[in-house]
């Protein structure tokens, strides 16, 4: 390291201290800007990429058509992105930057429940709408906030259809296991409540510490409880270990469901036979029967157009992002302008059908019009098996 580069380092530090950071270029006139912080690095970067593709796809589609059509005028769309590194503090900081430096008025939620809760505290105080595409925890919505809206089903709906399937299949002994972490805990607690409601007995329920390298003690205990269905929740790393060890300890449930996992990249490839016939609730699948009232495409039409741009079939993440922007678009059109308070009120009254599904919010800001489907891995491919009206094929039970 030469002394000149040392000097440059010092000079660089000084310029930062003096606050000489470049400011975003001012918005061009007929441009509407949205803002969000995503996990582009950090442990949720895989999901972050899918989320971003969905936003970008909306921008691309709308701008190719000349822009958003609001009160007879066309507005191009732009999204300001930052990387929150899957970190709460960073995320809140970046949303403050979006609001007070970049002057973005229309915010899209971050990825992940804990982060969304912290960020919504900030946006609520700023009285700016936050349309959440990827924060499922029910605790986000039950704080009486007025400016948050989630297009997705919240976590207490995730397992409902799976438990219902169990009761329809006359499976009466349910075992529940989750990582001791916000999302998984709320999801599995929901499953326990639903089981009670639907008359399925919970024979085992426990949580494990994140990053565990051996789940055999839990699984041996579970085996002793003789479950005929298991529902487990946690991040992918642990779920892959769990899937392997379930077969190693000789557990043979009729049905095995995960809160998350089977449809994420890598799960089927890594697990092969152990991934077969596993279930996952999904917010959306290609088969849902909805026709988009803004863009005119069906779910399959969306998927085809998306695949042409990004080279892969979308799972539910991208279209969920697209739907969040459609909520804004619809509100802009209804208001005929961009006043944040009026837009907020219009969002609260949203009643649209998108390729993602129908969207209508209750007074907590949860989308109550849409339900979830359940996919099963059959021959290495995810196929929708529930509910009957969207099912591609029949549910298969393990022998």
């Amino acid at each position: 390291m030469s002394s000149s580069s040392r000097r440059r380092l010092v000079a660089g530090c000084l310029s930062i201290l003096l606050g000489l950071s470049t400011v975003m270029p001012a918005a061009a006139q007929d441009m509407i800007r949205f803002g969000t912080a995503l996990s582009l690095t950090g442990n949720l970067a895989t999901e972050g990429k899918l989320v971003r593709e969905g936003y970008d796809f909306f921008v691309k589609t709308v701008n190719e058509r000349g822009g958003m059509d609001v009160a007879g005028k066309k507005y191009k769309v732009e999204i300001v992105y930052y990387d929150d590194e899957s970190n709460v503090n960073t995320s809140v900081k970046l949303y403050e930057k979006l609001i007070s430096e970049d002057k973005v008025k229309f915010l899209l939620g971050p990825y992940g429940s804990g982060i969304t809760i912290a960020v919504s505290n900030l946006t609520e105080q700023h009285k700016l709408p936050l349309v959440i595409a990827h924060g499922a925890a029910s605790t986000i919505y039950n704080r009486g906030y007025k400016y948050i809206f989630g297009v997705l089903n919240s976590i207490d709906h995730y397992t409902y259809n799976m438990v219902k399937m169990a009761s329809e299949q006359k499976l009466t002994r349910l075992a529940l296991l989750n990582e001791n972490q916000l999302f998984a805990q709320l999801g599995i607690d929901g499953a326990a409540r639903q089981a009670k409601e639907l008359g399925v007995e919970v024979v085992y329920k426990e949580k494990y510490s994140s990053g565990t390298k051996d789940l055999s003690p839990e699984l041996e205990k579970m085996k002793a409880a003789k479950p005929d269905m298991i529902i487990a929740g946690g991040y992918t790393n642990d779920m892959i270990l769990l899937a392997r060890q379930i077969s190693q300890v000789g557990l043979k449930p009729k049905l095995l469901g995960y809160l998350l996992g089977p449809t994420l990249p890598g799960f089927v490839k890594s697990l092969g036979a152990d991934a077969e016939l596993t279930l996952e609730p999904v917010q959306w699948s290609i088969n849902v029967p909805y026709k988009d009232q803004i863009f005119g495409w069906t779910a399959r039409g969306y998927a085809d157009a998306f695949q042409k741009v990004y080279g892969h079939v979308p799972d539910y993440h991208p279209i969920q992002s697209t739907a969040a922007l459609q909520v804004y678009y619809n509100a802009f059109q209804k208001v005929g302008g961009f006043d944040p308070q009026k837009v907020r009120d219009a969002i609260a009254e949203t009643d649209i059908v998108t390729a993602y599904g129908p969207i209508r919010f209750n007074d907590k800001g949860q989308n109550i019009a849409k339900s979830m489907s359940v996919v099963q891995i059959q021959d290495g491919k995810p196929v929708v098996v529930y509910p009957a009206d969207v099912a591609e094929t029949k549910l298969k039970l393990n022998p």
Partner: protein
């Protein structure tokens, strides 16, 4: 402000260094009082988090820098402070008294386990504190009846606009920052601080000359715990949501450690300098280097260690004489 010059001035009178530091501190606080009116909410938030990190780094400095005991798991006090305060606020207490519910258990824990853990030296102490953090964090994650467990704790929003909330957080952390400077000056210049330094340079010798080492160490750790816990409490109020993985995050400790070392270990203003440098670097990396900022930050840290072994203050102290001579020759 070269460390060597400072040291030279100490020689001129017993309280010269103290007065000088106090003067600098007063100027700093005056600047901090005026600054918010010039800043957008974003920059105010950044400044608030710099102050918070400077406080946590001072807490680390108090143990690791002044006493020579690397309390790597000090974040445990941050977490306890955050949970204690949040639970008290949820139970209806105002922020002021609520902070005590965080600070007292944290200080108590330091006093209680201090005599056990402070017999360990070097890494072993560092690891023991790390273990302490893991145990307490696991308790917070599992005692869901008390803490909400993994689902975390949400606090009701404070009154007023976003600007009001930002101001309150800023004032809180600025006040705490002033306290952290006082602690720094106390540890450097008081009789108690002299005992700390004696322990750092040679514990056996200190013991032999009559320093009650275990007591001094325990009290220093308690002071460090109190400071860190209040920071945790203010943080809980500021962000409004805490979960175990957020407030017992070892990354907070590591960051604090990097900061006080970078700024200069065992100095009063080192933690602030370190916090300023690291936060500035990260902020710059975030806005300009999407996807590469971890790499940039990592390489920056490596370069700092390779090139600035004795921290920024030491670096300045080493190079200041040459620069001064050159400047003089030119003028």
């Amino acid at each position: 402000m070269a460390a060597s010059t400072l040291r030279a001035r100490w020689g001129s009178g017993p309280w010269a260094g103290t007065l000088r530091s106090a003067a600098i501190g007063c100027v700093l606080m005056a600047i901090l009082m005026v600054l918010p009116s010039f800043l957008s909410l974003y920059w105010l938030r950044l400044l608030t988090s710099v102050l918070m990190l400077a406080v946590i780094a001072q807490g680390m400095n108090a143990m690791a820098g002044f006493v020579g005991y690397p309390a790597f798991g000090n974040v445990v006090f941050f977490g306890i402070g955050a949970y204690g305060t949040a639970l008290a606020i949820a139970a209806g207490f105002a922020l002021g008294p609520a902070l005590l519910f965080g600070a007292i258990p944290a200080g108590g824990l330091a006093l209680a386990v201090g005599p056990l853990l402070l017999r360990l030296r070097g890494h072993y102490f560092a690891i023991a504190t790390l273990g302490l953090n893991e145990v307490v964090s696991a308790l917070a994650a599992n005692l869901s009846g008390l803490t909400g467990g993994a689902a975390g704790l949400s606090l009701p929003l404070g009154a007023g606009t976003a600007g009001d909330a930002a101001q309150r957080a800023y004032v809180g952390f600025a006040t705490l920052f002033a306290a952290s400077l006082l602690l720094g000056i106390f540890l450097r210049d008081s009789r108690f601080g002299y005992g700390c330094r004696a322990i750092r340079s040679n514990e056996e010798a200190a013991e032999a000359t009559g320093v009650p080492t275990l007591r001094v160490k325990s009290i220093a750790w308690m002071l460090s715990a109190l400071l860190t816990a209040v920071a945790g409490g203010l943080y809980a109020r500021w962000v409004g949501f805490i979960e175990p993985s957020l407030v017992f995050d070892m990354a907070i400790s590591v960051k604090a450690f990097v900061m006080f070392l970078l700024g200069g270990a065992g100095t009063v203003f080192g933690p602030l300098i370190g916090a300023l440098l690291i936060e500035s670097a990260t902020t710059l990396a975030w806005s300009h280097l999407l996807k590469l900022h971890l790499l940039v930050l990592g390489v920056t840290i490596m370069l700092v260690v390779l090139l600035l072994p004795d921290g920024a203050q030491g670096f300045v102290a080493r190079h200041w004489p040459t620069v001064r001579d050159r400047l003089r020759r030119r003028s």
